[in-house]
């Protein structure tokens, strides 16, 4: 087989299916989607598509399909603990996972003290000292930038549910895919605006000062997408480079999505900083996920000395 970066047919089918679902249930345009908040009914419908089975097919996680799915859900701004649920699937036993995988119960996952979506979750898992634990039952809602129904949590006293390594890796991969999708959606939206909005007698996109930041964001999103897909493939194939690539994907995707969001704010001008405008709702979520623990600094510190060579096909086992 020749070197190729395209998605396989399974991933394409998942993306098509999710895109159709989101357009039907959230609306075709971002202005409609931005007002859709988390709902258990919507979550249940999503689960019925089999999305959470991707994270848990027996004992095997299908990382490429998780990344493909979360990319589309990020682009659609689908609300809810998506990367968190995929991560939790790595930590829970079958009995505890079953209602969550079916969409009947909600789980969130993260590092203390702030865990997004904890306030709507039936179960909150936190990582402490490399172990996954159930959070203490009494936690407080906190309003956050990304409006993610977050809560301030602490680890509970129950025994550990196991090592956090794989769950954290899936979490980082999921966050990467979600924010890359969100960043790309913002870029597409603002590019349409730059092609049509006229000022000083020409379209905004005819000004290099407008076009170039958008082009640079596109360039960074494209690199991030390759890194996400490579990280997922490496994880599926159990390549030694998988750990480095997942962290690299998180860093690259986060920065690319932020660059896209900032360019979108700036290009839309005043409308770009209004709450009812097309940027704020996704930009808020991108920044919140960017800041969430493990932080980019943590990811950076976790890179091995060989990270820079991890995309060299010569290092990949056949």
């Amino acid at each position: 087989m020749a070197l190729a970066l395209d998605l396989g047919p399974d991933e394409v089918a998942i993306q098509d299916s999710l895109r159709r679902f989101c357009e039907r249930r959230l609306g075709p345009g971002s202005l409609g989607r931005r007002s859709v908040s988390f709902s258990r009914n919507l979550w249940l419908e999503l689960a019925e598509l089999g999305i959470f089975d991707l994270a848990r097919d027996g004992t095997v996680a299908r990382h490429q399909q998780i990344a493909a799915a979360l990319g589309v859900l990020g682009a659609m701004g689908f609300p809810g603990p998506l990367p968190q649920t995929m991560a939790a699937a790595m930590a829970l036993d079958e009995a505890r996972w079953a209602p969550i995988g079916a969409g009947l119960e909600i789980v969130s996952f993260g590092l203390a003290p702030i865990v997004p979506w904890a306030d709507v979750a039936d179960l909150v898992l936190v990582v402490e000292d490399g172990q996954v634990r159930q959070a203490a039952a009494d936690f407080d809602f906190v309003a956050t930038l990304g409006r993610t129904a977050s809560a301030r949590v602490t680890p509970g006293q129950d025994p550990s549910l196991g090592e956090a390594g794989h769950a954290l890796a899936v979490f980082q991969l999921g966050v990467s895919a979600y924010v890359e999708g969100a960043g790309r959606a913002l870029l597409e939206e603002v590019t349409d605006h730059a092609r049509t909005r006229r000022q000083f007698g020409k379209t905004l996109g005819e000004f290099q000062a407008v076009a170039f930041p958008l082009a640079e964001a596109r360039m960074d999103l494209d690199a991030a997408l390759v890194l996400i897909r490579a990280a997922a493939l490496a994880a599926d194939q159990d390549q030694t480079v998988a750990g480095d690539l997942i962290l690299a994907a998180r860093i690259a995707a986060t920065r690319a999505a932020l660059a896209s969001a900032y360019a979108a704010h700036q290009t839309y001008g005043a409308y770009g900083v209004t709450e009812q405008g097309p940027v704020a709702w996704l930009s808020r979520r991108i920044q919140e996920y960017a800041t969430q623990s493990p932080s980019l600094g943590d990811a950076m510190a976790g890179l091995s000395a060989d990270t820079a060579t991890s995309l060299d096909p010569a290092r990949w086992a056949s």
């Binding site: 970066l5 379209t203 076009a211 690199a223 490579a230 990949w316």
Partner: protein
């Protein structure tokens, strides 16, 4: 999706590394100024027919997929030995696509064996990035073109054998519709070459044509048909032009230099190196996108522009970080930070500057018209 080399490609990586071993002291990738050493490398490649890896077998090539060329020039870049020669790339691939049988018989064998070296004659004093405004006139007089004008910023023309010349055969205002490509013998009388040292250590040249005569038979492709051919030949070479392992090597040398100068344990240095390792990976990601598109015979215009821009950004960020994080020794001539700082400046200017590349992404990737 697949990110590993096939067994044959993997074997080729090992073969290339073995082949490069005796040339590791050549170090011409960055400096490109020891033409004797470069000729010896190209001729050794020619002996293995590796300058014609992807040429059709009927024309003396090996008919291999572009991945093999990518591997060769990526490893060459990592070893800092040499860049792909213009001759076996743009020149040969244009002749293969557009040349007549006589031209193929005359030019391809010496190129394939590494015996004919070419320089590129595109830019002019009034036509830098905007090549459609090139003015050097090729006036047809019987069986020859009479050339008058000036070319500039041509690398290594004072040492090469031939010039791949873009010239105006149409009306002065014909822009891209009035340009042709001809091969000029650089030893032609009435042709003056003036070298200009570059900060990076190699040499630009200015070439003045004063009634230089070139046989019409040395025009490749149709008269006034250069523009299409130039685009096609660029497409043929996108996967080898900006090899990601050049920036990987920059990164590793700077990392090791900082460690050797007592900066390896500084948390600030470690953090910055981690940042730079992501930049290296982004270049590799773009390069693999170009290769993947090329393998599928898809246009890779946007991918190639992004690759070039990312490559230049990474090379410059690595060099500048070395200066910022290093110690006083960083500025000593010949030290890694000093050499990379000087050389990386030119990367974002030659071969289509950063502004051109970003414009391509904006226009062709996003549909904007900056």
């Amino acid at each position: 999706m697949d990110l590993s080399y096939s067994p044959a490609e993997r074997a080729f990586v090992a073969e290339v590394r073995d082949f490069l071993a005796p040339f590791r002291q050549v170090l011409q990738f960055l400096h490109n100024n020891d033409y004797g050493a470069l000729r010896s490398v190209y001729q050794a490649l020619g002996e293995r027919n590796w300058l014609a890896l992807s040429w059709p077998q009927a024309l003396g090539g090996l008919g291999l997929p572009p991945t093999f060329e990518f591997i060769l020039w990526d490893e060459m870049a990592y070893a800092r030995i040499a860049r792909p020669p213009l001759s076996a790339g743009i020149v040969a691939k244009t002749i293969i696509r557009y040349g007549d049988d006589e031209q193929k018989a005359r030019w391809l064998p010496p190129i394939r064996t590494g015996k004919a070296m070419f320089s590129l004659g595109y830019s002019e004093p009034e036509a830098g990035s905007d090549l459609a405004s090139a003015r050097l006139v090729a006036e047809r007089v019987g069986d020859v073109y009479r050339l008058n004008g000036v070319k500039i910023w041509s690398s290594g023309a004072h040492e090469a054998d031939f010039l791949w010349l873009l010239c105006r055969t149409g009306e002065p205002a014909s822009r891209s519709a009035g340009l042709s490509l001809v091969i000029v013998d650089l030893r032609s009388p009435s042709l003056r070459i003036r070298p200009m040292a570059k900060m990076g250590g190699n040499v630009f040249t200015e070439i003045t044509f004063d009634n230089v005569e070139v046989p019409v038979a040395q025009r490749v492709g149709p008269e006034n048909g250069a523009w299409t051919m130039m685009s096609a030949s660029l497409a043929d070479e996108r996967h080898v032009q900006y090899p990601p392992k050049r920036v990987l090597r920059d990164f590793e040398e700077v990392r090791d230099w900082l460690r050797d100068h007592g900066r390896g344990d500084d948390p600030l240095v470690r953090h910055r190196l981690a940042e730079l390792s992501i930049e290296v990976l982004k270049v590799q990601a773009h390069a693999l996108s170009v290769l993947s598109a090329t393998l599928q015979d898809r246009s890779a215009v946007v991918e190639a522009a992004a690759n070039k821009r990312a490559y230049c950004d990474a090379a410059q960020r690595i060099a500048r970080a070395a200066m910022e994080l290093g110690c006083a020794e960083a500025v000593i001539e010949g030290e890694i930070p000093e050499a990379l700082w000087r050389q990386s400046l030119e990367e974002s200017i030659g071969g289509g500057g950063n502004e051109i590349m970003t414009g391509i992404i904006a226009r062709q990737g996003l549909g904007l018209k900056p």
